[in-house]
């Protein structure tokens, strides 16, 4: 009986939820950002747990290394001293808590109602089935042991690269255009005068 996956799941869940709760309750925005980083690290750990190694690396590099550093820079640029002294929660916090609880009940209802649909086969063997053309291509690139349908398939980055540059080429290019537009928009908005 292997207890380690369960142990890591509960540990990472505790980290994620604790970090999230502290993120939304801390008074100081810098502390919130630090706790959000803890949460994001926990999510990266769950990705590793789920055999999504590439996404775990991207989570650490892009989210923590990029977005959260941007957040911290903005927090340093703007003066938050008096904001930390003020009341943290706005007037409609009762309505907000009600909305959140209603959403929670809704999600719980759906998950309980649809739990039969979640039995898609045996869990936890960790294989992702790519199509045959991708397997052939990867095998032609280099010798990967255990690659094939049903085998322990863990060239996760290679598989994502294949899917991204082959099947999802147009969305990939659109995403790059979106990033360009975002860069231009951010510069235009943050600049004093154009």
């Amino acid at each position: 009986m292997n207890v380690l996956p369960g142990f890591f799941f509960y540990l990472l869940s505790a980290i994620i939820l604790g970090g999230a709760i502290l993120t939304i309750t801390r008074r100081n925005a810098v502390h919130s950002a630090i706790w959000l980083i803890v949460t994001l690290l926990g999510v990266a750990g769950i990705y590793l747990n789920q055999h999504a190694e590439f996404l775990a690396a991207v989570q650490v590099l892009v989210y923590i290394g990029g977005i959260m550093v941007l957040f911290l820079f903005v927090i340093m640029l703007v003066n938050l001293d008096e904001a930390a002294k003020q009341r943290q929660f706005n007037h409609q916090w009762t309505i907000a808590v009600g909305c959140a609880l209603a959403l929670m009940a809704e999600l719980a209802y759906f998950i309980v109602k649809g739990r039969e649909s979640f039995r898609f086969g045996d869990t936890g063997t960790g294989t992702l089935n790519p199509d045959a053309a991708v397997i052939e291509f990867l095998k032609s690139c280099r010798d990967i042991p255990g690659l094939g349908p049903g085998g322990f398939l863990q060239p996760n980055t290679e598989l994502i690269a294949c899917a991204l540059y082959r099947d999802y080429l147009l969305p990939f290019e659109i995403a790059s255009v979106l990033l360009l537009v975002a860069i231009v928009g951010a510069v235009v908005m943050a600049k004093k005068e154009i």
């Binding site: 950002a33 949460t39 769950i46 957040f71």
Partner: protein, 100 residues
Amino acid sequence: MVPISYFLVLAAILFVLGVAGFLFKRNIVTIFMSIELMLNAVNLTFVALSYHLRELNGQIFVFFVMVVAAAEAAVGLAIIITVFKHRESLNVDNVDLMKL
């Protein structure tokens, strides 16, 4: 082994925490962080289902969600800086010109 529903419940709780933070915080930077929490909850669902269904497409979706999150953070933080320059405050209660 951990069943998939545990991951979905974890993602649901994370999403609800993000929604709660979004609704009742007054600091606009923290509201942005709540949005990141919600995006991460959705990503968690994608990855859990991708692993469970042995499909790579969910992970590709997560990649694109991360791209959109990066773009959103860049533009949003630029908006925050502009709002701060004009209003000297990050309180969303002071930025309610469009409120009915």
